[in-house]
């Protein structure tokens, strides 16, 4: 795995995990998952 391989994997994973965490935190904080 080259430096750029690590870089691309790191950036991609970070972006996706950050987005998922941001979304789920807001969803669960919104109304405890209820409608």
């Amino acid at each position: 795995m080259t430096f750029y391989g690590w870089l691309f994997m790191g950036i991609s994973w970070t972006l996706i995990i950050s987005l998922a965490v941001f979304c789920f935190r807001r969803v669960l904080r919104g109304n405890n998952g209820g409608m």
Binding site: L7, S12, C23, V27
Partner: protein, 519 residues
């Protein structure tokens, strides 16, 4: 005056998000994505992939959620009624037929593939798969199971048919129980199970290191490198950009019509901006992080860099059903990991297949006011009959033909139509307000511009390029073998009849229920 059935609704916000994410997550996340990425520039593939996610994937999610909720508020749960609302033109409702036809066509072959996953889960646990001596035996096993040849493993289609019957029954049992007690309950159970199985496999993969001591370079880390080391020259090839845009489109379940139906079960003030983004992010997590970390690194560690090219080129299907069980047979507790692999794919398939059949059931239930259980039985009976050609004529190109029309052509066409109808016919200002009704997330204003201009233009380019590159040659049956021509032709005639029947039903619905009520 016709007595209206009560509108169905989701029980919780998390339920609808998991249902939409479950619909999006399928075999493509774990099989198609890693192969596409590895064959199209590795890490560099992620540049067009993320650009496509931002310009097509996420906007299309919001468009479909918004059209669905808007339609649901006005009593429509499928595309014909919704398009009729968006566009006050007699053509609108007929364009909407694609949103019922497309998912039904995908369902009739997808359910059969899903049943293979259930049977492979069973054969994994029973030790049959892990006893295979080599990849050739594994390929023969699959071929005999599908009825393409008769050999020591299978002499008939009976086992495949039995698992197909169980899978179809399970799907309709869930649909039969309704939105909250059926679909939502399944997704709340299946999605965490799916993630758990994927995490267990991920941990097994990353702790494997190098399986052959005499070949230390054949290791998991270099396997990740095979997928992630960027080849920047691929970015200069239009094929890479088209592959990335196509992957985003196919992975998110947009352009099918299923999100429209799922979103129609929302209430007027329910959020869609955050929910749509959350469903998309869940799918991306499963695809890039879990899907990208299992199949390619594992195959690399067992086959090495030279054979890897051949393995990746053999297609996602071969990789999933032949290469993966063979690899599991080489590691300790292989039967268990093989079971986890096929069971996670089965769960991903199940949450997708129920979403594919739901528009047809909703169309019968809500547009013809036939209660859900009867609607489910009617659609179940029709689907059962429609599935037969895909099972018995698999080796004659029927499945590929269904996939071409339902899973590719209708998808891109329907996505293009709905993006234009929403942003241009319905009007971008109304569309923007509709997306923001009850929103728990403020969408950056640049997306108003993206939804109006970039998304439809991007989709038109994909549609045009795809028709020129592959569509036209497939339409004129350029690559179909002479002996398969009658089967392919009959499939096309059958699909045309199915489309016409649905269009007639839409016509009857419009005349009987819509005009009679003077709406």
């Amino acid at each position: 005056m016709v007595k209206k059935l009560k509108k169905e609704a989701w029980g919780s916000k998390l339920g609808v998000i998991l249902a939409v994410a479950g619909s999006a997550m399928g075999l493509g996340n774990f099989l198609r994505f890693p192969v596409q990425a590895a064959n199209n520039g590795g890490g560099a593939f992620m540049i067009p992939y993320f650009i496509s996610l931002l310009l097509i994937g996420i906007p299309m999610m919001w468009i479909e959620w918004a059209i669905g909720r808007y339609g649901g508020v006005h009593g429509h749960t499928t595309a014909p009624g919704m398009f009729n609302r968006l566009w006050n033109n007699r053509l609108g409702k007929y364009l909407g037929v694609i949103g019922v036809f497309g998912p039904l066509v995908i369902f009739i072959y997808y359910i059969y593939i899903e049943s293979w996953l259930l049977s492979y889960s069973f054969y994994s646990l029973s030790g049959v798969l892990t006893d295979m001596p080599d990849r050739e035996s594994m390929a023969k096993f699959l071929s005999a199971y599908q009825g393409l040849e008769s050999n020591a493993y299978f002499h008939s289609l009976v086992p495949a048919y039995l698992f197909f019957f169980i899978t179809l029954g399970l799907n309709f049992f869930i649909i039969f129980r309704g939105v909250t007690k059926g679909i939502e309950r399944l997704c709340k159970f299946a999605m965490p199970m799916l993630f758990l199985a994927a995490f267990v496999l991920l941990i097994r993969v990353v702790t494997l290191d190098a399986p052959y001591p005499d070949k230390p370079d054949w290791n998991i880390l270099n396997g990740f490198g095979y997928l992630w080391n960027p080849d920047f020259s691929a970015l200069l090839d239009a094929k890479t950009w088209l592959a990335a845009a196509g992957q985003i489109f196919f992975t998110l379940s947009v352009g099918i019509g299923v999100i429209l139906t799922y979103a129609s079960y929302l209430r007027k003030g329910d959020d869609i901006a955050l929910s749509g983004l959350t469903a998309a992010s869940t799918n991306e997590f499963a695809e890039v992080i879990l899907g990208g970390s299992i199949i390619i690194p594992l195959a690399f560690a067992f086959f090495g860099p030279d054979a890897m090219r051949e393995v990746a080129a053999s297609g996602a299907f071969n990789l999933g059903f032949v290469t993966m069980p063979f690899i599991f047979s080489k590691i300790s507790l292989g039967a268990l990991f093989s079971f986890l692999w096929f069971f996670l794919l089965f769960l991903a398939g199940l949450t997708s297949s129920i979403s594919l059949i739901e528009p047809a059931v909703a169309f019968i239930r809500d547009d013809f006011q036939i209660e859900r259980r009867k609607s489910a039985m009617i659609v179940g009976g029709v689907a059962f009959i429609l599935c037969q050609p895909a099972i018995f004529f698999l080796g004659h190109g029927v499945l590929d033909e269904l996939d071409f029309w339902g899973g590719t052509f209708c998808l891109v066409l329907f996505g293009t139509i709905e993006s234009i109808l929403f942003a241009w016919t319905f009007g971008i200002d109304r569309a923007w307000n509709e997306i923001h009704r009850g929103a728990q997330l403020h969408i950056p204003r640049v997306y108003k511009w993206i939804i109006k201009y970039i998304t439809p233009a991007f989709l038109l380019v994909i549609l045009g390029t795809w028709i020129m590159q592959q569509g036209w040659s497939t339409m004129i049956m350029e690559n179909v073998k002479a002996e398969d021509m009658p089967y392919v032709l009959c499939t096309r005639i059958g699909l045309l009849i199915l489309f016409l029947v649905l269009a007639i039903l839409v016509h009857i619905w419009h005349k009987k229920f819509y005009q009679e009520e003077g709406k």
